[in-house]
């Protein structure tokens, strides 16, 4: 299922907003039919990573300064001109964001918005595009799709809008879906429906998925691979099952300890909170970025930033001096 060359391979990606290095050397790859989750707290650089891949970092605010973003059949996206990049966004990569209204135009009917990429990139007629839009709405589980296609976005619930955005994202049968917290604003019941929908679409279309979330429980439910981000860098990555069961980086361990579960903390009834807060990216400490919050920090951590250390051949890697000693 996840064999073959990667659909997307990101290598050494760096993106800055002025002096703020929001993405500071991120590498990963994802194959056909595979789901890679990027997980981290707010401000860790997840969205900036996604926007960098799509070439959507606002020029006035910042820019991608280094790295390659290779998409199968397209080469390095960073080398493409604006026209080709627009084509990639409409056809090769389907995007889904947290807030569906950011992807929908309030003054156009749902059906015509879903049909738009089909007319632009596939040359379908208005009528063909509309028919296909209705099929796509049915495919993503929107009841009465023919009627809903004639609705305006505000007439749909949050969950239905997100389904419409997903229909739009898959309209041109993309090789990759890039979803940035697509279920964060939804109730768990609707989240479960949307996650099931994504998996179903992956099974049927073999599409690769990069799924951004702050919720490790969602990672546990859907991810094949995971990248744990902290303050602009990936601190740990690998097969999701391995990372969640046997976390090597103190931040991953800490994050897992924060997840509430029955009986956590035993009789003292406390969660294993990580002390302190995420450091400001504009004023990162020297050495390891996690140092101020790390229960295991020692002298070396203050002097040198740990590099990404690879362990084994299965893509497992982490950024910590301590675990280098243990590995």
């Amino acid at each position: 299922m996840s064999d073959g060359a990667p659909v997307l391979a990101v290598e050494g990606l760096r993106t800055s907003f002025g002096a703020v290095r929001a993405v500071d050397g991120v590498s990963f790859s994802v194959r056909r039919g595979e789901t890679l989750c990027i997980v981290g707290e707010s401000g860790s650089g997840k969205s900036a990573t996604a926007l960098s891949i799509m070439g959507l970092i606002p020029r006035a605010a910042g820019k991608v300064v280094d790295g390659t973003v290779r998409l199968a059949g397209r080469g390095d996206l960073r080398r493409l001109d604006d026209t080709s990049m627009a084509e990639v966004r409409g056809r090769d990569i389907g995007m889904v964001f947290q807030e569906p209204m950011s992807a929908l135009n309030p003054v156009f009917r749902i059906g015509s918005q879903i049909g738009e990429p089909l007319r632009v990139h596939r040359g379908l007629s208005r009528r063909e595009a509309h028919e296909r839009a209705v099929e796509l709405l049915a495919m993503v589980g929107v009841p009465s799709p023919a009627q809903r296609a004639l609705d305006y976005p505000h007439q749909l619930s949050g969950g239905m809008r997100q389904r419409a955005v997903i229909a739009m994202a898959i309209a041109c049968e993309p090789a990759l879906i890039l979803a940035d917290e697509p279920t964060t604003a939804l109730d768990v019941t609707i989240q479960a429906q949307i996650l099931a929908l994504f998996e179903d679409l992956q099974d049927r279309l073999g599409v690769a998925m990069v799924f951004i979330t702050h919720d490790l429980r969602v990672v546990a439910e859907i991810a094949d691979q995971v990248c744990v981000m902290y303050a602009g860098v990936v601190v740990e990555q690998g097969a999701a099952r391995d990372v969640l069961r046997n976390p090597l980086h103190p931040y991953t361990q800490g994050l897992l300890g924060c997840v509430p579960r029955a009986g956590a903390g035993g009789t003292s009834r406390r969660l294993n909170a990580i002390p302190g807060t995420v450091p400001s990216l504009a004023a990162l400490p020297q050495g390891c970025r996690f140092r101020s919050r790390c229960p295991h920090a020692f002298a070396r951590c203050a002097e040198e930033e740990p590099p990404l250390l690879h362990q084994g051949g299965d893509g497992r890697a982490f950024r910590c001096w301590l675990t280098e000693a243990a590995a």
Binding site: E41, S42, S157, G159, M160, D187, V188, T189, I190, Q191, A192, Q193, L195, A196, E199, H214, D215, L216, R217, V218, A220, E221, I222, A240, R241, L244, G254, L255, L256, G257, C258, V259, P260, R261, A262, G263, A264, R269, R270, L271, N272, A273, I274, P275, T277, V278, R293
Partner: protein, 336 residues
């Protein structure tokens, strides 16, 4: 001391008229809270869970009488709040407070922390020294330092702002705090810090919490009892342990099945609950859950089930609770 519960809510109802059109005609009623009974003991945590729009916040506000209920009765520390005069109600309000989801929006940006936290003291006429000492004590209680008193809310992180909101709520020694999604807007690591703080304060001060949340795993960890709400009504109430081990209402089952968990058992793949919350303007007849319930039969579509006592402190609003449980929830869907 009496053995009467700290809080007793009976038949509480909040209906909002809905007006539409250029003439603002009344077109209907939102039954945001539609006949809720609750009790809470001293030092106890009752969690309120359910999908957004089911009436949790409205219920929380109505219990504190920040919202005038359209019907029903709330008794707090043995006194019927509806029967109190203005001064008495203000007095009762010292002892029942609220913490909000969005600490940013609930703190006045132009006030210094000392004025936000000390505001309650002013209303209740304490001297300046008493007030300053009180603020210092409160800040220490929630893990902030004395020098934070002179700062403004924007100088703090989200977690620290929530601590300020908690300090403000605790100013006048409440016995009861409504926590409306107090950690939902916080990052996971900070969420754990604030959850721990709430637990610590409860142990230290003997607080009772009405804890509103949509995170069922957090509630399982945090609460003594749980009330599950659907379209303005409580559909199941049970001790936390019992609710998770043995959910009785099909909606509770569905919520649990939909909640992702670290064990990664593919919860979402069970496709537990179809459809969405119906409009509270036009709730379905009979059992309001029937359009989404896999076990619905004719009776459910015609007759609204009462909240039935099932023993061991468990009650559920379902005609078929025993039947469904007897088959381990595998009862053939009634309308397949």
């Amino acid at each position: 001391m009496t053995t009467a519960p700290l809080l007793e809510v009976e038949g509480l109802q909040v209906h909002y008229p809905v007006h539409r059109g250029p003439l603002q005609r009344r077109v209907g009623t939102v039954r945001a809270v539609d006949g809720v009974d609750l009790t809470l003991a001293r030092g106890e945590t009752l969690a309120l869970v359910g999908e957004s729009g089911c009436g949790k916040s409205t219920l929380g506000r109505a219990v504190l009488r920040l919202e005038e209920p359209t019907a029903g009765r709330v008794a707090f520390e043995g006194r019927d709040l509806g029967a109190l005069g203005k001064a008495e109600l203000r007095d009762a309000r010292r002892r029942m407070r609220m913490i909000f989801q969005d600490p940013q929006a609930s703190l006045n940006p132009r006030f210094r922390v000392e004025d936000i936290v000390g505001e309650a003291y002013d209303i209740h006429g304490l001297s300046r020294q008493e007030r300053a000492a009180g603020v210092r004590e409160l800040l220490a209680l929630v893990g902030l330092s004395p020098e934070h008193a002179r700062r403004f809310p924007h100088e703090f992180s989200g977690g620290q702002r929530q601590r300020i909101g908690i300090a403000r709520a605790l100013a006048l020694h409440p016995s009861f705090v409504v926590c409306d999604e107090p950690v939902s807007a916080l990052d996971v690591s900070v969420q754990a810090q604030v959850v721990n703080l709430l637990l610590e304060l409860q142990e230290k001060l003997g607080l009772a919490y009405l804890f509103i949340s949509h995170d069922l795993h957090l509630v399982e960890f945090f609460a003594d009892r749980v009330a599950v709400m659907y379209l303005g009504r409580i559909v199941e109430t049970a001790p936390a342990k019992a609710l998770y081990r043995r959910p009785r209402h099909p909606y509770t089952r569905a919520l649990l099945a939909a909640s992702p968990s670290l064990d990664g058992e593919g919860h979402h793949r069970r496709a537990p609950l179809q459809g969405e919350l119906p409009s509270p303007l036009a709730p379905p007849p009979g059992c309001t859950f029937h359009p989404r319930c896999p076990f619905a039969v004719d009776r459910c579509r015609a007759e609204a089930p009462p909240l039935r006592d099932l023993g061991d402190g468990v009650a559920a609003r379902c005609w078929r609770a025993e039947e469904i449980e007897a088959t381990g929830g595998l009862l053939a869907p009634a309308h397949a």
